[in-house]
Structures are given as C-alpha cells and as structure tokens.
C-alpha cells in the first residue's frame, strides 16, 4: 500500500528535469547591488538630497507597479526586483537637487506608461528609467539641468549650483574646463573619482566600473554593447571633438563625463530593450555611440546618452530580426 501511495505522489513532467539556479529576480537584485558603489559615491558627493531623491524614485516605482497591478487585476511582481531597479536607475539619473515632484512623476511615467502599459516586464520597447528621465527633462528643463556642486559635506541641504563638465565644454570650451579643474591630469582624476557636477549616480567612473566589472564577472552582462558604445564615442570624440580640426579631440573627457559610463554599462545593456544576439549588440552599441556624439557635438543638449539609447531601443526589434544567430550547419544561403 505504501508503495502505491508513493507512486501516486511521483512528479511526472517532460524533460529537461534539471534547471539552473538563476532566476529573473536574482538577476534584478544583483544588478541593483552592482549599482551600490556608484550610489554611495553619489550620496557622498551630493549629500542627503541624493539619497532622498533616489529613495523617492524607488518607493514610487514599487508603489506604482503594485497599484497598477492591483487596478488591472494582475499578479503582483514586486518581488522580481525589476521595479526596484528601474526606480534606482532613474534616481541615479537625476540631479540631486530636483524638486520632489520630479522623481515622483518621472517614476510613474517609467513604470506605468513605459513598462506596464506595454505589457509589463519583458514587453517594454524602451528603457523605462530613461523614458521617465526624458519626460521630466523635457517637461522641467531648468530643474533638470540645474546641477549641484559636488561637496563632501554631509547633511548639507543648501547647495551651490555648478555646470557639468560637458556643459562647460559645450558652452565655454576646453580652455575654461581646464582652468576650472587646474590641469588635464587633475581633470581626469576628478572625473575618474566623480568629483564633478552631474546626475547622482553618473559621476564616479571608478565606482561604476567596479559595479560593471562585477556584472561582467557574474556574466550578467557581456562587453559587446559597452565596448562598442564607448569605443564609438572615443573615436568620434577624437575625430571631431577638437576645435583645431580633425584628430584633435580628447576622447578621455568624453568617455569619463556625462552619463556614458552609467548608460553604457547599466542602461544600454538592459536585456529587454537591447538586441539579444551578440553581433546585433555591437551594431546597437555603435549606434548609441554615434547618436550620443552627434548630440554632444552638434545638438542643443550637452549630453546625448539618454536619447541615444532610447533611439537605439527603437531599432532593437529590427536588429534582432535581421542579425540572427548563426544556425549550426547553415552555411549556404537557402532560397527561403
């Protein structure tokens, strides 16, 4: 009898009977963790306002996702960590000093319009955090381009405003930038450390690289997009970025300032909105780099990473459809 009972309890399912331990939520939480160094550096340089702004984004993200799912009678997916990550990324993409309604509205746009209305996780065309940011940048351009002077004084709520290095480069030129930072070496060092005006999480190149290295080590991201993105930016900056003609630009300034590091490693690599085949990812990265530099050098904004990634998001389905993986044993082009 015991044996028969046992038999009835057997699980019958089709193969494969083994599954890896990787889960979507583990990926999302790990990526969030990898942003911690950059977040800490933002909190260090921009003080409590940075922490509060980011926290508002995260809380709004979780609440609006839950609210949407409640209203539309969908399953609660808060625990998969993707809303948390979107909130965190959006917060890190804002200036620390924005009025509090900006992170709230930006996050609602990101979660409800960009993600949930398109079908939720996996179905959104655009990177939610970047649409949220684009929305508030266009709606409140002044608040979104008023940057705070970095300053390691904790608990300081008043802030002195300052321009970002890319803003200075665009409006006043390299000479002024160098004058402000002393010399080139000092400029590089400050950029590397993140001691400059900018969005909360974008300034510290070192902290971002630390997080990115962790993701690459864990094989959560591959280098195809970041390297082709950053490489393209470097080449274009070198070619056309200088005032004295071709080949006189300074690629390092362009690489280390603005949102490039954050964008290339953490936002352009968003699984859902980037191509999934490696060769397509390279095309995607190059496209991001080209648009970024077009905006930086010729456009009205000093920075173009956000719009570059969003525009390339539009091309993702096209890229995926046309640059497919190479099928084993498929050497000749077949008629069909």
């Amino acid at each position: 009898m015991e044996a028969i009972k046992k038999q009835h309890e057997l699980v019958v399912s089709v193969s494969p009977h083994l599954k890896s331990e990787e889960t979507t939520s583990r990926i999302m939480w790990t990526v969030s963790l990898s942003l911690l160094p950059a977040f800490i550096s933002g909190a260090y340089f921009f003080g409590p306002r940075a922490v509060i702004t980011t926290a508002i984004c995260i809380i709004t993200a979780l609440l609006s996702e839950r609210a949407f799912q409640k209203i539309t009678n969908r399953e609660d997916t808060i625990s998969d960590g993707s809303a948390f990550l979107t909130g965190l990324l959006l917060g890190m993409n804002l200036p620390a000093t924005v009025p509090f309604y900006i992170p709230i509205i930006g996050t609602v746009v990101a979660i409800v319009i960009t993600k949930q209305l398109f079908g939720g996780l996996g179905y959104n065309i655009f990177n939610p955090a970047l649409i949220g940011r684009a929305f508030v940048l266009i709606t409140w351009p002044r608040a979104m381009t008023t940057w705070m002077k970095p300053d390691a004084a904790f608990m300081r709520f008043d802030a002195i405003s300052a321009a970002t290095p890319l803003g200075i480069l665009k409006e006043e030129g390299l000479a002024k930038l160098l004058a402000l930072f002393g010399d080139k070496l000092n400029l590089y060092t400050e950029l590397l450390v993140g001691h400059r005006a900018g969005s909360i999480g974008e300034t510290s190149v070192i902290a971002l690289l630390l997080g990115a290295a962790f993701l690459v080590y864990k094989r959560y991201i591959s280098l195809h997009i970041p390297l082709s993105f950053i490489g393209t930016v470097a080449v274009i900056a070198w070619l056309f970025g200088g005032k004295e003609g071709l080949f006189t630009g300074d690629p390092l300034i362009h690489i280390m300032s603005g949102g490039l590091m954050l964008g290339a490693f953490f936002m352009a690599t968003d699984y859902v909105t980037c191509p999934s085949v490696k060769k397509g990812q390279i095309v995607f990265g190059i496209g991001c780099g080209l648009i970024t530099m077009l905006i930086r050098l010729k456009g009205g904004y000093p920075e173009g990473v956000m719009f570059a990634i969003l525009l390339m998001n539009c091309f993702t389905p096209l890229i995926d459809r046309n640059l497919r993986s190479k099928v084993f044993g498929f050497m000749k082009k077949e008629a069909k």
């Binding site: 038999q7 089709v14 083994l18 890896s20 990926i27 997916t77 996780l121 044993g329 498929f330």
Partner: protein, 436 residues
C-alpha cells in the same frame, strides 16, 4: 592537451560520482519479461510467437516490420503468457510479448564466429541486423541502417561516442573501463563494414580512467585515436561530437553521413562486437540506476523486459527522502515515469530516482526578459527565446522562420532560462502543429 569542444552548451551538475565507481553487475533474471515489439525508431515488429509457446533465450519473437526496423528477441527462456499493450518508458502503450521465466536460462543456438573479422562486410551487417542492434545511447535507431549509407555518401570516419554527457549516467563509462577491448573490437567491425580507415573514440574529460583504458587498448594502432572532450552538455549529440572531433559542420537538416561520418555509441559498439563474435542478440544492456532517491547506486546488466521496479528493488529500494521523480534516461532528455512497471528497453541507459534534494519543481514561469542566455547556449545556434515566444502565442508557422526543425530538443535553453520558461516544451508543441 587542449580539450575539444563545440560552441554553446551548458554545465549542469554532473553527479557522476554516485555510480561511476560501481562495477557492472548482472541484474537478476526477471520472473516475467515484458518485451515491447517497438523499441526502436522505425516500423514496429510483428509478433511471431503465440500464447503458451515455449521460447529460449535469444530466440526471435518479433520480426522487423521493414528495413528501418530491428527484430526483438526473448531475453529469458520460458513461456509466452501475454501478448498485448503495456506502458513503456516513453509514456505510450506499446504491443508487448510477456514471457514467464522458467529459470532454465536456456539459450537458443547462437552462430559463434571466432574468425568474425574474416567475414565480409555484408555478412557482418547481417549479423548486426539479426541481433536486433539499435543505437543504445537512447535514440534507438537501427544500427544496420546507419551502416548502410547510400553510395553517394562516402564515409571516411567512424566515431565512437563515449561522451555520455547526460548527468548521472555512467553505463558507457563502466563499459569503457571494464571491457575496453570489446568496445574497440566493435569499432573495428564498424570500420570494416564501412571500409573506413580512421576511427575516433570521443570521451568527456570527466572520465579520466576510461580515457586511459581506451588509450592503452588502442596504443600501437595508428588508425584509431582516443579524443578527450570538454565536459559540456550536449557534447554527446552527434553533430556536436563531430564538430568537436573533426571540426566538420553537419548541414542543417542533414545527417552525419553528409560529412562522411558515422557515429555509434559505446554500448552499441560493445553490442556489435558481441553480435559478430558470438552471434549474441541484444537481450540485455547496462542500465545505470542512480540518484539520491535510491539506496545503492549501481550499474546493472539488465535483461530487456525487466520492469524497473525490479531494478529499484535490487538497488535496495527508495530512500526515505525519495522518490520525488523517477526518470528513465538522463535528467536532460529522459522520461519521467508515472508507474514503476515499465520495462527496460534497448534504449534505456539509466533509471534516475530523484530525491527531494535533487528535484527542481516546474515552477510557474515568467515572461521572457530577452536576456539571450538561451541563444548563447543553444548548440544549434538557434534563438530559443523567439521560438518560445511565437509558440506561446500560437504563431507556430512563424517558428519555422527561426529554424524550428533544427532543434533537437537537448533542453539547454530551458536549463538556463532565468524566467523558468518551458522553452523546449513550447518548441515541441510548435513542431507538433506544423509540417517541416
């Protein structure tokens, strides 16, 4: 020495340690043998025995139903007591002949050939065909068909597949360690039949003792080489094995013979030797009984038709922690069983009893997050993510645009999917809904 391999693939936990050091022992002869008339790919056999008829061990009880077919033999001596449909490991009901064992273990007359290597290729092929040999790695494709390539497909290389890339299974491993010369003798027969000069034995590097034994056995023969392969699933898939060893790409939709290669499994080579040397039909095979849900993990030489419940008893029964799932075959491509009363058939390489600790529930699955892991691991270079999305929405025709029929269902995509999507299951669904 750098290890040979292919692109893609996964590294599931191997768990070979459970049974790899357990020598092959003969399982008890079953009191009743339930012998399916269709144990192979191709036409089922027709029963030629009647109720109550006395049969001897090795006697033909089912004649092949066509060229792509293989006869089945009595695996015990005794009386035919039933002729009807019974469940088999793949979940179907199949016509079977049931023989009650009289315990006499009387053999039918076998055609012994001490000088079998002097026989002509045609005679050898006939022996293999008569012995009912099919691919023992699991696919169970009739071996004599593989050994009869059309003239326009010249064969230059034979590969013996000792990869045994399925986790847990150790049957081929033990054969290579315990009877290496018989396996090599089988390879020589195959090479002679096909008139081939070059033979390889590909073994995954997690079986160093097998590699060493095989190397010793072939030392001094310059036309047979043992190749160590990287441990990676599905290394034992024919196309992957050929890619690894010869760097040849079997064309999509094609067969190994299209690139001049014939691949046979280690167990098959062993059976081919026994058939040619002793005229012995395939009435038994090595079955790995393993997993943490069984008391003792063993490699048993079991008669075809032995119910797996008998093998489980012989291994001390289930542990208190098990069984949660009982799988015939390996964990990546095997079949979960609802009954323990299914027989061992020619393609049965193992019985895996999973305990609660080893069991991964088939959780609810989430949306595809387009992470691309499935694309990276697909050994066939397909885009399983797209296949699963199209199939999920019922767009089966579109799946063909993504090379649906090149998928051989290894399940690597489903193993790595972080959203736990039933990708390979959706692929199978799509395959069943459209024509190639």
């Amino acid at each position: 020495m750098s290890l040979l391999t292919f692109e893609g693939g996964i590294h599931p936990p191997g768990h070979k340690e459970l049974a790899e050091h357990s020598p092959i022992v003969d399982a008890k002869s079953p009191a009743r043998a339930v012998i399916p008339l269709s144990q192979h790919i191709g036409a089922p056999c027709e029963s030629i025995v009647e109720m109550g008829q006395e049969v001897k061990k090795g006697e033909v009880i089912g004649n092949p139903g066509g060229f792509v077919s293989a006869p089945v033999h009595a695996s015990v001596s005794g009386k035919v007591v039933a002729n009807g449909s019974f469940p088999v490991p793949n979940g179907r009901m199949v016509p079977c002949v049931v023989i009650e064992n009289d315990g006499k273990e009387e053999w039918t007359t076998l055609r012994d050939s001490p000088d079998y290597m002097d026989l002509s290729p045609e005679e050898l092929k006939e022996k293999i065909k008569d012995a009912g040999i099919v691919g023992l790695g699991g696919a169970a494709f009739p071996s004599h068909v593989k050994l009869s390539p059309p003239k326009e497909k010249p064969i230059d290389t034979v590969i013996i597949n000792g990869a045994e890339c399925e986790p847990y299974l150790t049957a081929d491993h033990r054969l290579m360690v315990e009877t290496p010369s018989d396996v090599v003798a089988g390879l020589r027969v195959i090479m002679k039949i096909l008139g081939v000069e070059k033979g390889f034995i590909g073994i995954e590097n997690n079986k160093p003792d097998a590699i060493e034994k095989m190397q010793q056995t072939v030392s001094g023969e310059n036309n047979i080489e043992v190749k160590a392969l990287q441990v990676k699933y599905p290394q034992g898939a024919e196309k992957m094995l050929i890619k690894s060893i010869l760097d040849r790409d079997v064309p999509a939709g094609g067969l190994p013979m299209d690139v001049g290669v014939v691949v046979h499994n280690v167990g098959t080579a062993f059976a081919i030797f026994e058939a040619c040397r002793y005229g012995k039909p395939i009435i038994e095979r090595v079955v790995t009984v393993t997993g943490l849900g069984i008391m003792e993990q063993k490699n048993l030489r079991a008669r075809i038709g032995t119910l797996i419940s008998r093998l489980i008893d012989e291994c001390g029964g289930f542990t208190n922690d098990g069984p949660v799932k009982v799988i015939v075959g390996g964990p990546m491509m095997g079949f979960a069983q609802y009954s323990m009363d299914v027989p061992v058939i020619k393609g049965t390489s193992g019985v895996l009893v999973m305990s609660a600790a080893e069991y991964t529930p088939s959780e609810k699955f989430g949306p595809c997050i387009r992470c691309g892991r499935c694309i990276d691991v697909c050994p066939m270079g397909l885009m399983p993510s797209m296949l699963s999305l199209y199939s999920e929405k019922g767009h089966y025709e579109e799946c063909k645009e993504y090379n649906l029929f090149d998928c051989f269902e290894c399940g690597s995509c489903t193993f790595v999917c972080p959203s736990k999507r039933p990708i390979v299951q959706l692929v199978r669904l799509a395959k069943s809904q459209v024509k190639p």
